[in-house]
Symmetry: C2
Subunit: 246 residues, 2 copies
């Protein structure tokens, strides 16, 4: 892909907000969108993202799908795995469907559901997500951070900053709104982004719960080209697509 | 003031949100809180901050007060001045009362009204505001940015970052939440803060409307020790207090 004058507008939302643009890029670095990228890397066929545990259980039966998720770092009864991306690094998930039950990430997916194209971005697939978002876009991209509860999460803002940094490589003249400019501050230099992400409240919580490895995995920039993109609307079903060449 | 272990928690809100903490620091760099600092520097006795034009007109009669404000950069009929801090630099306002009619700043004051102490901070009085906030605090300070409409404003985030930077000079062990860490990124080095503020959407709008001088005035860090602090609750009445020695 060559760089060109695009007239692209990039809006960033530090918390889930309704968007009705062409392309919404949902970010939940710790951990939903990072885990989603790993699942598709392991061959997953489709992923359903839902907020409620009971809803997740019902969908798992309907779709004959793996049931993944946890609440507050605690595994859920009847679930085959949690939210930790590291759990799935060595799994063979070819042809499998999975339900991922996650509160903050699902809320962001729901808020962004008005967009024509919806994709899940993380630091692991930042470059591929930027390429996929730009090629789907008609002139505007909305980046929607999941946050934690009703508070912005520094890990998501760092993820947004890195995706915006990748977008600017492709569309250097892109017009950024104030929140996008703010997010971009976290992206350079790279060492600073890692330090910031490790200092995020949610990162410190995960570390206390024994998930320090998830943070390192989440920080592996452009480890994959796999981008989860929404196929079905209700429920939100994602499939993995290669986000352009590296 | 000497630095000491304070156990201070600093929360930052990039948009107005209800707070019920000890101390709320409201920030509307372009231009409400900057203008307020200038008005008290010129001798103003009390300032009422309100959102609605008709409400402002009624209060001006009740309080025999100057009526200041504008909508979208356009002066209002019957008002003696606008929102531009530069208008008041040479005015003698000793013993005067004023009503300042402003939409975004008023919304932030309203949102933060549950705090025991409420003060108006800007880059012009950042150091004095930090000292005043810390000495009023029982352990937590909430910084509330006004934003523009429902979007975070980079100018306010830069102001918040500079106030947080000043707070860390006084309380180096303060515990910052994610939004406060993000705001702090904008504060250092100083040249970067100026560039960022000038790039803010609202700064560019003001420049187009002929108010470029307001931006330069808003950027004068620690130009004054004057801190507008709330005295009355309903309506929000502010008086000027010296925020500690320099």
């Amino acid at each position: 892909m060559t760089t060109a004058a695009t007239g692209l507008k990039v809006h960033c939302h530090l918390l889930p907000q309704p968007v009705d643009s062409d392309v919404a890029v949902v970010i939940d670095v710790l951990r939903m969108t990072t885990t989603a990228a790993v699942l598709f890397d392991r061959g997953l066929r489709e992923l359903l993202v839902v907020a409620e545990v009971d809803h997740a259980r019902r969908l798992a039966v309907e779709h004959d799908a793996l049931l993944l998720g946890e609440r507050g770092g605690v595994p859920l009864e009847g679930f085959s795995g949690g939210n930790s991306p590291r759990e799935y690094l060595d799994h063979d998930l070819r042809e499998a469907s999975a339900i991922l039950c996650t509160s903050n990430g699902s809320r962001a997916v729901e808020a962004a559901s008005g967009a024509s194209h919806l994709l899940l971005a993380s630091i692991r697939n930042a470059g591929a997500s930027a390429r996929a978002a730009l090629s789907a876009s008609d002139g505007r991209i909305d980046i929607v951070c999941s946050g934690t509860g009703n508070r912005p999460s520094l890990d998501d803002v760092v993820g947004a900053g890195i995706v915006i940094h990748e977008l600017l490589d492709l569309a250097p003249d892109a017009d950024l709104d104030d929140a996008a400019r703010l997010a971009l501050l976290t992206a350079a230099p790279a060492g600073e982004a890692s330090r910031l992400l490790r200092s995020a409240q949610h990162a410190r919580t995960l570390e206390r719960l024994g998930f320090a490895g998830d943070i390192e995995l989440a920080l592996e920039r452009n480890a994959t080209n796999m981008v989860p993109v929404r196929r079905g609307l209700e429920p939100a079903i994602f499939v993995g697509e290669k986000g352009g060449g590296r």
